[in-house]
């Protein structure tokens, strides 16, 4: 077991070594430039800008898969390493101080948001697929609305059938009071992080279980089928919101990177015009 936990760590060692070495090198160069008064801010700023542009190219590479530009997994690996390095470089660039002035503050905030969203995205990308796979059937995101519609129709037909064939209103009442609304609603974005016992599906299954005593023998299999449908909808919600999260963080990370490049460019030009050699 311990060996299994160690295995991924051992695989990551070369990468960690590269990031640590490069970070030490950056800090060393910075210290050297700082003592020699040779424009540490200018060089670290240029290096940081170049690095951010290179990191942003990962997104562009995905758009041109027909050009042989190494595998995307290699790009991601270096995206991570250089991303960590860029944080070190950023700290060096701002001289380990809080930024002053509006432009610098905006720029630093955007950088921090991009870096944090990247790290959060990485953790989500590593952990959420495992949870999704164990939660239930994998679904294609674009087909989820169709599945939702199918569930709704099937449950409606099942309830109508039970009312007609069993001459009992227990299941239809349950449907109109609780189930119909649940089947129509879309899950919140934080659905996968909710506690199971606080989920609507859990409550509905308990509610249905409580009504089992009012059901005839004929109705019981239909109620069991309803339970299956509730579980199917729960998985659908789980898969839908998980996939939304997995896609959603990129809507923060990528547009802000583009802003970072544009504002960073403006900052660089202004610094060169008005700031001397720093």
């Amino acid at each position: 077991m311990a060996e299994q936990t160690l295995k991924p760590l051992v695989r990551k060692l070369p990468g960690i070594a590269i990031v640590v070495s490069l970070s030490l090198l950056v800090v060393g160069i910075w210290l050297l430039l700082k003592t020699s008064l040779a424009g540490a801010a200018l060089y670290s700023g240029l290096a940081l800008f170049g690095l951010i542009v290179f990191l942003a190219l990962f997104s562009a590479r995905k758009k041109i898969p027909f050009i042989p530009l190494l595998r995307a997994s290699t790009w991601l690996k270096w995206h991570k390493y250089l991303g960590y390095l860029s944080i070190v470089l950023f700290l060096v660039h701002v001289d380990f101080r809080m930024p002053a002035g509006i432009l610098e503050t905006v720029l630093a905030t955007i950088f921090a948001t991009v870096a944090i969203s990247g790290i959060v995205g990485l953790v989500l990308s590593r952990e959420m697929p495992k949870l999704m796979t164990r939660a239930g059937e994998t679904l294609i995101y674009e087909k989820i609305p169709r599945h939702r519609e199918e569930i709704r129709e099937s449950v409606k037909n099942l309830v109508l059938e039970s009312e007609e064939s069993c001459r009992s209103s227990t299941l239809s009442e349950f449907y109109f009071e609780h189930l119909r609304h649940y089947l129509e609603e879309r899950p919140g974005i934080l659905h996968p992080f909710g506690i199971e016992k606080q989920r609507t599906s859990y409550r509905l299954l308990n509610e249905l279980e409580a009504r089992m005593r009012y059901l005839s023998e004929e109705e019981k299999p239909l109620a069991e089928e309803l339970k299956d449908w509730i579980e199917t909808k729960e998985n659908l919600d789980y898969q839908a919101s998980s996939q939304r999260i997995l896609k959603g963080w990129l809507f923060v990370h990528i547009p802000l990177t583009m802003s970072l490049i544009l504002i960073g460019l403006a900052h660089g030009i202004l610094a060169l015009i008005y700031g001397g050699n720093g």
């Binding site: 695989r11 995905k62 758009k63 041109i64 898969p65 027909f66 050009i67 042989p68 595998r71 995307a72 997994s73 790009w75 991601l76 990308s125 959420m128 697929p129 495992k130 999704m132 796979t133 994998t138 294609i140 995101y141 996939q243 997995l246 896609k247």
Partner: protein, 614 residues
């Protein structure tokens, strides 16, 4: 008398399956008295429910060809053999150009052409084709391909006269009346090795479907001998030379056989080797049902049963076998074997050592059960032949491996002889065999624990195929490993059986199964045959989004077919493994999380490495 029920295939006589073919009883009668006399001599050996007359009635058809018409296309997976009734045919010993075979000529774009794609405007419509070919009406029926269609084979200035010199330059070998051809490929499920053309107008051929041929071989000793002798002459020696433990057999060392003739060591072994076929040729029809039932091989034909006397060394000539061993009340899959691999050598080696080295141990029976997965063609080399010509020639490392396996078996009778189980989870192994993923040379698997469902793989596939993805990111899964619906370029490509124009074929350079859209007539034979549902039929459009051959807008501004009597042109599409790209498979390259792999199940080392990294 053996009782056999009337075969289900006879509900549709073979002659009814092809337009323009027939079964003429007068001609059949004459054939049995003449060309097929040896067959008619064996007619009493056929059971009543599977009589020779009924086989001729339901499993054969007479087909007429005119000069230059293609009877057999090189590279096709044919499921029938031919007997020349009248006329003659030419067997082309050299290949025709890809165009004449209906194949596509592979072309890789240059760097500039690839870069130019960045600027190309994407079509808002799916399945747009700049160029397309309207299929001829007559092409739906059968293999109507004429050499006359290609100007390079015609006399200068003529529109349909074939220049004999073009045939001569291909070292044509003429076959005359009474000759049988195409039987080996039909029985052993291997691609046709040569193209055969009708050499004169009104050439009449008797075509026998593989099921009929198999029954004829089973009940007619004369035909069995004829087919087996021919098989021995043509391909057995080649196969033995390429197999793992028989490649040392000498072609030069001369020995005296039982008839007193001087033959080479290789030929002597070949002469005593028997070949067997198991399973259904068209196994794809029963596969889905079996997979749905979660079968662990119960319905698969047994080749060798665990515990029976080890009498032969089994060589897998084509197809796949499942190796199982008893486990409580069931059977556990421990390995699968494919073309060129052998079974039974451990047992035979042990028994040889016990016999000749004064051992006191009991002889080993077969330690595992061997079952045919789909259609399997095997060679059985009898134990005495193995002891005389194969075991003495084994290399030092081979002997060491066999001894190690024997020791393992002695220590623990349940020890896995095949080490694949040790590398891949046993449950996964069962999954690979049950889903027939073992057939793939580029099977797509996705690690669902790593896949973030970002669909970069799908987008990359679409971007490299003019906006049309060529696989579905769905499929059965086991232990968080999804066997995805993408063409896996099978070792045994059942999709290629019956393509009337040769549009689906193997690329001669990379062996990928590809489709030539210009010769695809949209008959969907390949899509129906694919047991994995990995071929899609699509309706193609022109650049304006109109269905080809033509659509127009009605008063409600909706697209309607301009010529209602015509269906839109359909084409078969599937993963081509990015054969025309500089990058290789775009899906594999595009996955940022290393969650997707294309696995060659015959050489699974890199796949197993990827699996173990999970």
């Amino acid at each position: 008398m053996e009782t056999i029920s009337r075969p289900q295939r006879w509900s549709v006589p073979y002659a009814d399956e092809r337009i323009g073919s027939e079964m003429d009883w007068e001609i059949a009668g004459k054939l049995l008295q003449g060309t097929l006399r040896d067959l008619s001599e064996d007619s009493d050996r056929f059971p009543r429910d599977l009589s020779l007359a009924d086989i001729l009635r339901y499993d054969t058809r007479l087909v007429r060809f005119r000069e230059g018409e293609m009877v057999i296309r090189q590279g096709d997976y044919g499921d029938s053999a031919f007997v020349i009734v009248s006329g003659s045919v030419n067997v082309l010993l050299n290949s025709l150009p890809p165009r004449a075979l209906g194949h596509r000529e592979s072309e890789r774009p240059g760097v500039f052409k690839t870069l130019a794609r960045v600027l190309r405007k994407k079509s808002p419509f799916p399945e747009v084709r700049k160029k397309f070919r309207q299929p001829d009406a007559e092409e739906g029926g059968g293999q109507i391909v004429h050499l006359q269609d290609f100007s390079e084979f015609l006399v200068a200035g003529s529109s349909d006269q074939i220049d004999p010199d073009t045939i001569d330059t291909m070292s044509a070998k003429g076959e005359q009346e009474g000759e049988v051809f195409g039987e080996i490929a039909a029985l052993s499920r291997t691609p046709r090795t040569a193209t055969v053309l009708a050499a004169e107008d009104d050439t009449l051929l008797l075509e026998i479907r593989w099921q009929g041929l198999r029954d004829i071989r089973k009940f007619s000793p004369q035909w069995k001998k004829m087919i087996d002798d021919r098989y021995c002459r043509t391909s057995l020696a080649t196969h033995l030379r390429n197999a793992q433990f028989t490649r040392h057999l000498s072609r030069k060392r001369r020995l005296v056989d039982s008839m007193g003739d001087m033959v080479s060591e290789l030929d002597l072994v070949a002469k005593q080797t028997r070949f067997y076929s198991y399973g259904e040729f068209t196994w794809q029809s029963s596969f889905k049902q079996m997979a749905g039932e979660g079968s662990s091989g119960e319905g698969e034909p047994v080749i060798v049963r665990q515990g029976s006397i080890a009498s032969d060394l089994i060589l897998i000539r084509s197809g796949f076998v499942r190796v199982t061993r008893r486990y409580n009340h069931g059977e556990k899959t421990v390995a699968y074997l494919g073309k060129g691999q052998t079974f039974g050598l451990v047992e035979l080696f042990h028994n040889y050592r016990e016999k000749y080295n004064g051992g006191k141990g009991k002889p080993f029976p077969y330690q595992h059960t061997l079952r045919a997965v789909g259609y399997v063609d095997t060679l059985a080399i009898p134990a005495p032949v193995v002891e005389s010509y194969i075991i003495p020639k084994l290399g030092k490392s081979e002997v060491q491996d066999l001894e190690a396996e024997i020791e393992e078996l002695k220590k623990d009778e349940n020890a896995p002889v095949f080490n694949l189980e040790a590398k891949a989870d046993g449950k996964l192994l069962e999954f690979f065999v049950e889903q027939r993923a073992i057939n793939g040379t580029a099977a797509m698997f996705i690690d669902l624990d790593r896949c973030t469902r970002c669909d970069d793989c799908i987008r990359a596939c679409a971007a490299t195929h003019d906006g049309n993805p060529r696989f579905n990111r769905i499929g059965p899964d086991e232990l968080q490993l999804q066997f995805t619906h993408a063409c896996m370029h099978c070792v045994d490509p059942v999709c290629m059986i019956g393509c009337p124009t040769g549009a689906i074929h193997r690329d001669p350079n990379g062996n990928q199964v590809v489709i030539n859209e210009f010769t695809c007539i949209g008959c969907s034979t390949c899509a129906d045959n694919c047991p994995y549902d990995n071929i899609q039929m699509v309706e193609i459009r022109d650049g304006k989004g109109d269905f080809l051959p033509g659509t127009e807008k009605n008063e409600n501004n909706e697209y309607v077919r301009a010529r209602p009597q015509e269906e839109p042109v359909r084409k078969a599409t599937k993963c081509d493994l990015c054969i025309d790209q500089l990058t290789g498979p775009a899906c594999y390259n595009a996955c940022p999380h290393d969650a997707l792999v294309r696995a060659d199940m015959a050489n699974p080392d890199s796949f197993l490495k990827w699996l173990n990294k999970r």
